[in-house]
Symmetry: C2
Subunit: 420 residues, 2 copies
């Protein structure tokens, strides 16, 4: 029997898990990503706020793949760093910026990107936080604003530089707001004592509560806690325009702000596909319960890319969903190798944890919702366990201990890296 | 008595030391730098070769300044992040991109930058390694070359991608060559086993030996050791041209190479000065033995910027020289406050250490030259002690232990950071 070639596009949680689960299948597995590292997206906001070194949450893909093949020198899964430009289902090929690859089975795991919901100016002036580079750009922006503000004699301009606006009251928005408060209470208080009183942190949410995917009570707790921490939470407020120096709301209020961090929307992010696709909400690909594309039995979509429901509601796009789908897709492809039909994916929901910061968080596991320091500690623990690589885990733990004991952060470089 | 304003331009070793030594002088001290961090230049090559996180060797200036004022909230030395554009000795002003500052005393400590010695193509195609951003750019380049080479079917193009050429056989060139060997013997061997045999490391030196500032014997040891490690050392070889894909030598040999790292020359790097200056070798500013500029009794130059001799030979431009000059300049300015005349600077030469890598180094302390593992260990120890900040020291030590025990490096991201 000829070896079948499985091509996996995207080395996020889903793609990497699929590669690992297929490593011993005997298939010829190729993993493609445009970066040479896997990004641990749940901790991006800690890079953006200078808490963690970017290197801690970005793990070299080749090192991960090496671990799947403990005895051999040659990894069982091949890796190609390339940008996928076009996929052709009819010809069964993936075209990258450097070569053309044919496949027998294809797993699409390219995740999601920021969706600016058609708000004018948002894509030009607001910061996204989906990649490591974007997180570093936010870090540069925050520290630059403080350095510029301390030199600024015009008080309204200074106020604008010191106003940080987060759009979106989901988990990412809440975590980012809390992390900014921690920065202000920590080293910023010591580095910029004269201007600290002028800092405004604003969280704008279009819906009537924060953390819509959690029970109302937990959203209310989060709101109260952020308010206590000094964050101005705007509910039922739609952003209608973003400019270089402000955010406009639907009620015609204009918030002067030099920094807008956009966490309000995501959409599926995939390369050009030469065939017609059936799309669901947020441009997600419609899939059978087996995760196969509707029209392509040898093409799977997982993670943020696939539109799937559970109890009548779409999956929310967290790492555990992608990880479980990575396992399922590998199992289904191996079933197809043997001539069996793929089985439906069923998601085991482990729960949700959201960190607010300053020793508090919220969570829901099964029917049990909880708040405060317990949720905060659980969040830290869970993220530490899931982080790839012992070294990263150890260094992140040390960094967190250092941050909370000293209230200091060492990563506050304003760094611009050019290609050359 | 009115408080005198001392302005220090540049927060390298010399500038920071001058600021620290002046912190208790009662003067109004302002430190200006275009970055918000101090770069520990001696470890830049470890960032360029993925051994250390950039954050470990870049320390926030405001944190350093805070340490000078242990009891107060307000630091005794003010900091301004700005690019100095023009200096006017007659008007006693420093003009930055954001404001105009007047001074009573001025300390110039802006260091040096790469000098391409007029070699065509060098400034366009060769990499410098004087700033953190440049070191990260080299890291990106090295890992990109490996990722591109493993996809390349044309063997001569692959050979070119896998040839790394270092121009300059001084300490930086030697350290960089050794660090590249360590990378090849470590994780690159595991990540790219199929192409590793094709890697060429080339060190091009114009003079007849390596490490010209050290005794001949030590240069010869370094040459032999690098040769053992597989580095091709070209002595008496002048580079006449650098292109996108090659280095041309004076003997008409052309080395196909995608990566050229230029460590062969430095020159003093200072902002535009509206007055006439007396310049020495490498555009350095001529100073009195007191470190005052020849024509300006209230302007000092220190570190790589000042032309000074010791035993008839120019100082070589290492951190210890700048640190001692920082202390001396602070003492002289305080003497001028009191109406006394400044005293000549005398350099206490502590010795030189150069690391080759792979457990060897060379050094000379007093009349005593030594080689091998002792020099290697001493180098690591000395650099650890001089690194600012306990946290950085601890994390660098842990990282070194991890690197040497596991032969792995976790920092191998190909990362391009844009401003926005």
């Amino acid at each position: 029997m000829n070896s079948r070639r499985v091509v996996i596009v995207g080395a996020g949680f889903g793609g990497l898990q699929a590669a690992q689960s297929l490593a011993d299948s005997g298939a010829d597995v190729l993993l493609i990503d445009r970066h040479n590292y896997h990004t641990f997206i749940p901790l991006l906001y800690q890079v953006a706020t200078g808490q963690l070194e970017p290197e801690y949450i970005a793990y070299p893909i080749r090192t991960i793949l090496r671990r799947f093949s403990f005895w051999g020198n040659q990894p069982k899964v091949q890796f190609l760093m390339a940008e996928v430009e076009q996929i052709d289902f009819s010809g069964q090929t993936v075209e990258t910026d450097s070569c053309l690859i044919s496949y027998d089975f294809l797993v699409l795991a390219t995740g999601s990107r920021t969706q600016f919901l058609g708000v004018p100016g948002a894509s030009e002036y607001a910061f996204s936080m989906r990649t490591l580079e974007q997180a570093i750009a936010i870090r540069n922006q925050i520290f630059s604003c403080f350095e510029r503000a301390i030199q600024e004699s015009d008080s309204s301009r200074r106020q604008q530089l010191l106003t940080f606006t987060i759009v979106g009251g989901g988990a990412t928005g809440v975590e980012m707001a809390g992390a900014l408060v921690e920065m202000l209470r920590g080293h910023l208080r010591r580095d910029y004592p004269t201007i600290l009183q002028e800092v405004r942190l604003i969280l704008v949410q279009s819906g009537d509560r924060l953390l819509a995917e959690l029970p109302k009570k937990l959203g209310a707790y989060t709101h109260k806690r952020l308010h206590q921490l000094g964050v101005e939470v705007y509910l039922l407020s739609k952003v209608t325009r973003v400019t270089f120096e402000s955010v406009h709301l639907q009620n015609h209020e204009i918030i002067p702000t030099a920094t807008v961090i956009w966490t309000a929307g995501l959409e599926a992010n995939y390369p050009t596909i030469s065939n017609k696709l059936s799309l669901g909400n947020k441009k997600k690909l419609l899939v059978h319960p087996t995760l196969q594309l509707l029209e392509q039995p040898n093409v799977y979509a997982i993670g943020d890319l696939a539109y799937l429901e559970r109890n009548g509601k779409p999956l929310i796009g967290v790492a555990t969903e992608a990880l479980q789908q990575g396992v399922a897709v590998a199992r289904n492809i191996q079933r197809q190798f043997r001539g069996h039909s793929p089985q439906p994916f069923s998601y085991f929901h482990k729960g949700i944890l959201v960190i607010i910061g300053c020793y508090s968080g919220v969570g829901k596991i099964g029917a049990f919702g909880f708040t405060g320091c317990l949720a905060w500690l659980m969040w830290l623990g869970v993220h530490l366990v899931y982080l790839p690589g012992y070294r990263s885990r150890f260094f992140v733990l040390l960094t967190w201990l250092h941050t909370y004991l000293s209230r200091d952060r060492s990563v506050r470089l304003i760094l611009s890296v050019k290609k050359r």
